[in-house]
Amino acid sequence: MLRPRTEWESFIKHRKSMGPIFTALVGVAFVIVTLRLWHLQIVQYSSLADRAENNRVRQMTLDGRRGKILDRNGFPMVDSRPSFQLSLIPEDVDNPRETLDFLRRRVDFDVDSTLDKMRHSPSFQTIVIKKDIDREDVAFVEENRLDLPGVFLEVKAWRNYIFGQEASHILGYLGAISSAQLAKAPKSVYSMDDFIGQYGIEKVHERTLRGAKGYKRVEVDAAGRELALLEVIRPKSGHDLRLTIDFTTQTAAERAFEGKMGAAVAIDPNNGDIIAALSKPGFDPNVFAHGISGDSWKKFIQDEFHPLQNRITRGQYPPGSTFKIIMAAAALEEGIVSPETTIYCPGHYRLGQRTYRCWKKAGHGSMNLTSALIQSCDVYFYTVGLRLGIDRIAKYAKMFGLGKRTNINLGAESPGLVPSTDWKKKARGKPWIMGETVSCSIGQGYNLVTPIQQAIMIAAIANGGKLVTPRLVNSPRPGTGDRPGANPKSVSVSPDTISVIRNALRLVVTAPHGTAWRIKNGPYSYAGKTGTSQVVRMKKNETSDIEEIKFKHRDHALFVGFAPFDDPKIAVAVIVEHAGHGGEAAAPVARKIMDAYLQKINVPPSTPQITGHVTDKSVLPMENPL
């Protein structure tokens, strides 16, 4: 078939022009592709190579085992046990509702809140369904793996406060790291979901306990499966911490305090080691250690008896008659009285227009220093106090460690308050009034002490005048324990003065009129001083509940003491809130604590009492003081 020549020729002519056009277009595309390749493979190479590496390599943190907290004999009080945590990765769960409902058949958890979390977090991020699931649940998940896509088990260390509430204010608890703490800490040490010590020993000794994290770098595929182990840096375990607490004594103290509020501190008067310490009401650290719910936290915070407050170091109480120990030391040292000086107590004391009562309305009659301490005569100490003046009283109070922090290494501590003329001018802007000296002389008024200060004070009497530094951690590793209490400061009070006071305190227990007579029949030779401190009155119409008003108005019962008298091994300070008289409510508690410890360290019971109620059956050593 022949074609018109012109048509063919015009086509050839046209197609010839197409060659360069096509070549140019392809050339441009070629250049664009080249530039783009250059951009990605050369210019952006390092950042994209990093991203490929991030895709490929997953770095997993390996937590170091947290150190245990042991008692002085190596008995564990806090440890970490392995626990199973049920988690899921949203993007691997095909049908969330169905999968979770299936899981719910066996495992008790909130399906809706889990679904809600899944909706509000990135699809690749692990979501915790339930922590610390029990063995049956673990078995169920293992058996039904195929029906639970995306759901998996993780092994986590579970902080375990073995004895629940016991010594909770000392041990403290772990809590989720706050953003502020995270910002302060070095990056390699903590990450977002870490739990760190937030209270007590757990907080103060976080560095020792926590150990160091390790890392595992694994090659993963897009589905997150681990294909190869690339690198492992093993985590380092934290160091165990050995406390000075004696677990047996602690338990005895906890039992003695059952149903009571307040605080108790038992200390070794020779070196300041804290043998037992408690604050009631307490809390169970296990509730905190794995994330506490907002509601439970609120309940703790709003509790009117403040279970989270550590009364041992932060509870400030009027010392009441226990302060008479300080008064006695001051009076003897300043030459106000000699041990033989007598002062007559008619049952009240007049100062100007006001009358100050002795606790015994009928009066104690003629009192010397020893009998005044034995019977806790108020009038004797009013008289002595006025002769001393508040500033000299303050000097001795401070000498015995009151009014300033004891430096126990346990977080925030209250200093208490030792009033003086200077203090009042500064704090209140008013001059000191004589009448205030009167109430301060018997440990009321502005006076405030903490249980730990009380313990240090009585320890100084027990050990012959040495002011020890309290110590909670007894660790052979240098740098991990508290400051050693090896060189306690001596109180600048003569040995004679201390001796007079010591003997008097022994008689407080043993003398027929001694205020601590209730404990005289115990197996050891105790000495001590009772106290009853008035609680600040509330306005009567503040609450309608009569029982509650009465409770809140009841006096605090105090006792400070030590045993055995000749060679003190333990000094104790006890405050039982709203419990009435010290001799009645606090001294028996203190005795139980001392008994438990002395028995534990095998101190032989002392011979029958000097006062000689030999026929009394209760004099016999108790087989089991607990």
């Binding site: 074609r3 018109p4 012109t6 048509e7 063919w8 015009s10 086509f11 046209h14 197609r15 010839k16 197409m18 060659g19 096509f22 070549t23 392809v26 595309a29 070629f30 664009i32 592709v33 080249t34 783009r36 390749l37 250059w38 990605l40 493979q41 050369i42 952006q44 190479y45 950042s47 994209l48 190579a49 991203r51 490929a52 590496e53 895709n55 490929r56 993007e91 990135p122 699809s123 690749f124 090659e219 993963v220 595929d221 897009a222 589905a223 294909l227």
Partner: protein, 372 residues
């Protein structure tokens, strides 16, 4: 030298061995990269994909040989029956086709799944060439001249776009446009087309399905939705970029081995290659492809008749467009649509189509000096 030459000798002398060699080189490269991309797969099937691709290369070579030996003027005569057969197949897919990846594209014939829209590309090229050839018109074509081929283009376009496979559907239009342009059209048509396109672009935006819109938006900011539509794009760029200058080494690509790269042996095979071969390898590859295209252009420019020239021009446009669109897509420059990399991507239908195209080109090139 004798004036008389045996047909066999003439064939051997005129046969474009270079084109065939380059084609086979590309295929070999494709099979290697397919092998590499599924090297560590859990699935036996995935690991053996390269063998399936080899089968397809074999089938395609047979098909190509047949096409080479047929007188292409016979093919020209068969253009209309072929077209209606192709449209029939496309329509049949709509009713009985297998659903893979959410769209109906496949026609199952005797155990082989053939994407009929792929074969349709070649058929359409043949038909358009035939129509233009039939016009016997001197000079540029007018609007009325274009109406008929345009209608024949829009029929398969509509069917394929409905599947929905916008990528392939787009190629029908592109091929038609390129062939018309190559044949020569009046300048005002070009101007009008450009104007109308500019006007219609925003309108057509609203006619796209939401997922298609998202894919286009993804180009602008893939990081906005890193786990969704941006994922493929980001992973592809990471794969290519992390290859660097020299690449991670053959069979050493992590993005593909560890499955971070989706569609790695099909649409994103270039990413696998560029990750392993680096900038240098990628440059060598596109340079080879450039020569391949230039070779085809030679045939277009020297074909001895209008039909042949137009057919090869259509094939050239198809392959060129596929090639650059696929590269642009893997490089994060174009929206993601299912357009494979010619001769490299896994997929029998597209391989067969491209080989048929090369067969036609070789046929026409051999016939170049034949006397009419």
């Amino acid at each position: 030298m004798s004036d008389i030459e045996l047909p066999e000798h003439r064939f051997l002398r005129n046969f474009d061995f270079m084109l065939l060699a380059i084609t086979l080189t590309l295929c070999a490269l494709g099979v290697t990269v397919i092998y590499s991309s599924n090297l560590q797969s859990d699935s036996e099937f995935m690991r053996s994909l390269y063998i399936r691709q080899l089968y397809w290369v074999g089938i395609s070579l047979v098909a190509m040989s047949i096409v080479i030996w047929i007188d292409y003027r016979l093919i020209e005569r068969m253009a209309y029956p072929l077209y209606f057969f192709g449209v029939g197949c496309l329509a049949a897919v709509g009713f009985s086709g297998r659903v893979i990846g959410g769209s109906q594209r496949w026609l199952s014939v005797g155990g082989f799944n053939i994407q009929s829209s792929e074969i349709m590309k070649i058929i359409l090229i043949i038909l358009i060439a035939r129509i233009f050839d039939d016009m016997r018109k001197e000079g540029d074509l007018g609007v009325l001249d274009l109406a008929k081929p345009l209608i024949f283009t829009l029929i398969p376009f509509a069917i394929v776009a409905r599947q929905p496979d916008l990528g392939t559907a787009m190629i029908f239009i592109i091929v038609f446009g390129c062939m018309a342009f190559f044949n020569g059209i009046q300048r005002r048509i070009i101007i009008w087309t450009a104007g109308i396109s500019a006007f219609l672009a925003p309108v057509s935006w609203f006619m796209l399905k939401p997922y298609q819109q998202e894919r286009i938006l993804t180009i602008l900011n893939p990081d906005a939705d890193p786990m969704g539509h941006g994922y493929q794009m980001i992973q592809s760029k990471i794969a290519i970029g992390s290859g660097g200058l020299w690449g991670k080494g053959i069979f050493e690509g992590t993005q593909s081995k560890l499955n971070f790269l989706p569609a790695k042996h099909t649409d994103f095979i270039f990413s696998v290659f560029a990750e392993e071969a680096g900038f240098v390898g990628a440059m060598i590859f596109i340079t080879i492809f450039f020569f391949f295209l230039m070779r085809l252009l030679e045939i277009v420019l020297h074909a001895r008749d209008k039909f042949g020239s137009l057919v090869v021009a259509g094939i050239l446009c198809m392959i060129t467009f596929n090639f650059f669109y696929n590269l642009g897509m893997t490089l994060g420059l174009f929206p993601i649509v299912g357009i494979p990399l010619p001769f490299i991507s896994y997929g029998g239908s597209s391989l067969l189509t491209n080989f048929l195209g090369i067969g036609l080109a070789l046929n026409i090139s051999v016939s170049r000096y034949k006397l009419g």
